[in-house]
Amino acid sequence: MSPAVSVGAVEALPIGAQPSTDPDPESLAWVTALQASAPGRDEAIARLHELLLRAARFEVNRRRVTLPHLRGDDFDDLAMQSADDALVAVLAKLGTYRGESKFTTWVYKFALLEAAVKLRRRAWQARELPLEPQVWTLLPTGGPSPQASAERSELFGELQAAISTGLTPHQREVLVAIALNGVPIDVLAERLNTTRGALYKTLHDARQKLRAHLAGRGIRIGAEAKEEA
């Protein structure tokens, strides 16, 4: 199964990130033991799988309440599948480990990601994705004062207009599904046959358009509004 986040796409560290550092002895031992030509590599891989399975079970147990219809065996299977997929991902990415964290922390994130994605997808399995705005009618109509109520109405009215007319159909679909209707980005990515990263870029662009629309209408929000006040 392809990973939900294409980590291979990262070429440069952001400003402020530290260069590679030497791994601690325990981490270095892990990396050495997992090299293709290392003696005892099979034993190291077995230990790595145990580590990944522990992390996957940790995630499954944290999210168990979101899937009340599943049985204990289902959770065990999900954890095992996650550990298996994470093992493949870790071995494929071993050369990218830069020693900036413990090796165990580095591999945990692969298992947690695999488990989280599988659990989110299982939770939304067979559910129709809400891609239309459902939230506008839920907005409260009153306000603490007539002025505040009017400002709020103007703000959300402009946002609704920008969503309806200022976004591309794809941007609108992604924004509405993720930001308004709470569809997990991994679930949407699977349904639209794309990646989490690509969808988040779309979401980011849509959000920037909304901010630009509000700025164009002279509506200040966040830090700008606080400075003005």
Binding site: V10, Q18, S101, L112, R152, L180
Partner: protein
């Protein structure tokens, strides 16, 4: 502004400042979490991470899980 409206605005508009991509977040998350658990200034060391975690619910969940797991290792 009610809490619900504030949450809706945050979801629609996302973080204000520059933020990492999901790929960059995954790449740097282990280092960020270890700095957090050690009590260091993770946000200064990894600029753009906090904004992304604020804007991306999935990466936010992954961050919470990794931090909890690393903390459980540290305390155990």
């Amino acid at each position: 502004m009610s809490r619900r409206e504030d949450e809706l605005l945050r979801a629609l508009l996302g973080p204000e400042g520059p933020e990492l991509s999901c790929e960059e977040c995954f790449e740097l998350l282990d280092r960020y979490v270890e700095l957090e658990v050690a009590g260091s200034d993770a946000d200064r060391a990894v600029p753009g991470m906090l904004a992304h975690l604020d804007g991306c619910p999935a990466c936010h969940e992954d961050h919470v899980s990794l931090r909890a797991l690393v903390r459980s290792d540290t305390s155990g």
